[in-house]
């Protein structure tokens, strides 16, 4: 008896994305599938297309051809409103250079994602506190984001991304500006989140970090290869 194949939670099927009237072709006929509980690292040199793939997984960008499937549903024909709903409920983002609102406290930043995900007001504070705790920055909950260190900001960004417990977590260079200690810390958090049943996709040029991931894909010259 053979096990029934498990449907990927996130998939790019024959995706092509070009820029500058087709002169720049970071992704050509690329197919990638991501399973629940998996940490997938995408590596490649600067401009290779790893962030482009991540943006398409995150429904921030659309392929010229091919299909992005999120939780088994095709997304190519969705309106921006529907894409925003999926981003709010099913996806968590950690952007490059730990982008958070500097005028809000760490807890308020995390609560933003909960607000957009439709979490009732009464539960936001507690869930935000739990997310900050799991990202090990609970002690900075009431500090304005502008006053946090780079490592703390990155962990707050991670807490914001996982606060509403999305099944898919997308991270673009999540340890790019961090020292070794903070890098290890953040990567451990990502691993824990994947073990809890989510799919984690991270784009990085840190090969050491990538080797610790469950699976590594290399993006170069428009193609994606298992590494």
């Amino acid at each position: 008896m053979t096990a029934e194949p498990v449907a990927p939670i996130l998939a790019a099927t024959h995706v092509t994305r070009t820029f500058d009237n087709g002169r720049v072709r970071p992704l050509v006929d690329v197919t990638v599938e991501v399973q629940r509980g998996e940490v997938l690292a995408i590596v490649g040199s600067s401009g290779s297309g790893k962030t482009t793939l991540l943006n398409m997984f995150g429904l921030l960008d659309s392929p010229d051809s091919g299909q992005i499937m999120v939780e088994g549903a095709p997304t190519s024909t969705l309106s921006e409103r529907s894409r925003a709903k999926i981003r709010a409920s099913s996806l968590g983002f950690v952007f490059q250079d730990s982008l958070i609102d500097p005028r809000r406290t760490a807890q308020e930043n995390v609560a933003l994602a909960l607000l957009f995900a439709g979490t009732p007001l009464a539960q936001r504070e507690q869930k935000a506190a739990e997310a900050l705790d799991s990202a090990d920055v609970a002690d900075r909950a009431h500090t304005l984001a502008g006053d946090l260190s780079g490592g703390e900001r990155q962990r707050v960004a991670l807490a914001r991304a996982i606060a509403h417990r999305p099944p898919i977590l997308l991270c673009d260079e999540p340890t790019g500006n961090l020292d070794d200690v903070n890098t290890e810390h953040v990567f451990a958090l990502l691993g824990n989140y994947a073990r809890a049943g989510a799919a984690v996709v991270l784009a990085t040029h840190d090969l050491g970090l990538a080797r610790q991931s469950g699976r590594v894909l290399s993006v170069a010259h428009g193609a994606v290869q298992q590494w």
């Binding site: 943006n55 995150g58 921030l60 960008d61 921006e80 409103r81 925003a84 709903k85 981003r87 709010a88 409920s89 996806l91 983002f93 952007f95 982008l99 958070i100 609102d101 005028r103 809000r104 308020e108 933003l112 994602a113 607000l115 957009f116 995900a117 009732p120 007001l121 914001r160 991304a161």
Partner: protein, 380 residues
């Protein structure tokens, strides 16, 4: 709880938090709304107060007659004597005197119908009464019966100039009155020219004194002194309303100017808010892109920018209106003048200010959500 109410609460909460965390920007925008609303409230109220001031002076300057309603309670005299008449005539600026006494009468027309009516007996310089007749050729009162155009006598089918009997005295119908500047009551009654009897100060009637334009304020107190020496304040000298049309014309043009200026102030305020909001969304372009990237809907982003503008506009406008009115009140107090507040205009002005603030914020807000979130995220 209703989904819409929850969404509205979230939007307002988010906007309030943004305002708390960006006090400098809130104060700058609020100041624009404050200044616009304050100038508006001050301008409208000050204009209204000055118009009230001007109205009295204008009527006095423009009046061509002053008049006193009889009987005169404060006078020691029963009749106006010849020396008093001469003294009135001698007041600088006086052009003549007319008077009218009111009584009740029965008029028997040529068909034999008896009509009960009020009868005015007109005397002195009747040109001062500003009588106008249905027969456009007629300019002066004759000794016949003058029928008010709105009275039952005028509605009879009789031909004019037929015989009538007034209180037993035979007379002819001498004309139909269609206007009287000094005694509007004449139009609903009847009148006859008197025989030069001096006016009785303790009968019902009107004493009308003709004045040259600009002299009414000089004539009025001296007239009061002649009519009731020592008790001048008991004599109410009125300016008939013939100046009001001219005044309304002049003040109407001033009102138009005030309203146009108010509109310009509102437009400038809205322009300031719009420019400010454009800079605001430009400086927060990446942050607003982040919000949308992590799931904020376009509606949420637009609504929070609008609500922010409305909250700032409301606080600024209301405070501005209060301060503007307060300055007017202080000025009125200092000048010992009444405070005239055109509440309707001030309220409309404040509401219009709020609406223009919201409209001023709408365009920048819409421009923000038209941009794809990824492009906003990449901006610096």
């Amino acid at each position: 709880m209703n989904r819409v109410v929850r969404a509205a609460r979230d939007i307002v909460g988010h906007s309030l938090l943004t305002l708390r965390r960006t006090p400098g920007r809130a104060v700058a925008f609020g100041l624009a709304a404050f200044l616009a609303s304050g100038l508006l409230a001050f301008g409208l109220t000050d204009a209204a107060g000055r118009q009230a001031d001007v109205t009295g002076a204008f009527d006095a300057l423009a009046a061509q007659r002053v008049q006193v309603t009889l009987p005169l309670r404060g006078t020691p005299y029963q009749d106006l004597s010849q020396p008093q008449m001469a003294a009135i005539q001698a007041i600088p600026g006086v052009t003549g005197i007319a008077w009218a006494e009111r009584s009740d009468a029965f008029v028997l027309d040529s068909t034999g119908t008896v009509v009960s009516t009020r009868l005015w007996t007109l005397d002195g310089d009747l040109t001062l009464l500003g009588l106008q007749y249905a027969d456009t050729q007629q300019t002066e009162a004759n000794r016949g019966l003058l029928v008010g155009g709105g009275s039952p006598l005028a509605s009879s089918d009789d031909e004019p100039y037929q015989h009538a009997v007034v209180n037993g005295r035979r007379t002819v119908v001498g004309g139909t009155l269609v206007a009287s500047a000094a005694i509007p009551d004449l139009l609903d009654t009847a009148a006859t020219a008197g025989a030069g009897e001096p006016p009785s100060l303790d009968s019902n009637g009107e004493l009308v004194v003709g004045v040259r334009p600009g002299w009414a304020t000089e004539v009025a107190p001296r007239l009061a002194t002649i009519l009731a020496p020592g008790r001048e304040t008991s004599v109410l000298v009125r300016y008939p309303p013939e100046a009001s049309e001219l005044r309304q014309g002049v003040l109407g043009s001033v009102n138009s100017l005030v309203l146009v200026t108010s509109g310009a102030i509102l437009a400038l305020g809205a322009g300031a808010v719009m420019v400010g909001m454009f800079f605001r969304v430009l400086s927060e372009r990446r942050l607003l892109g982040l919000y949308r990237a992590i799931g904020a809907s376009s509606t949420f982003v637009v609504a929070t920018i609008l609500v922010e503008a409305i909250i700032i506009g409301s606080v600024g406008s209301v405070l501005g209106a209060i301060v503007g009115l307060g300055i007017c009140a202080a000025r009125a107090l200092a000048r010992d003048a009444p405070l005239v507040v055109p509440w309707a205009l001030v309220c409309i002005g404040v509401l219009a200010g709020l609406a223009t603030n919201a409209l001023g914020a709408l365009l920048p807000a819409l421009s923000t959500v038209r941009e794809p979130p990824l492009r906003a995220l990449r901006s610096r």
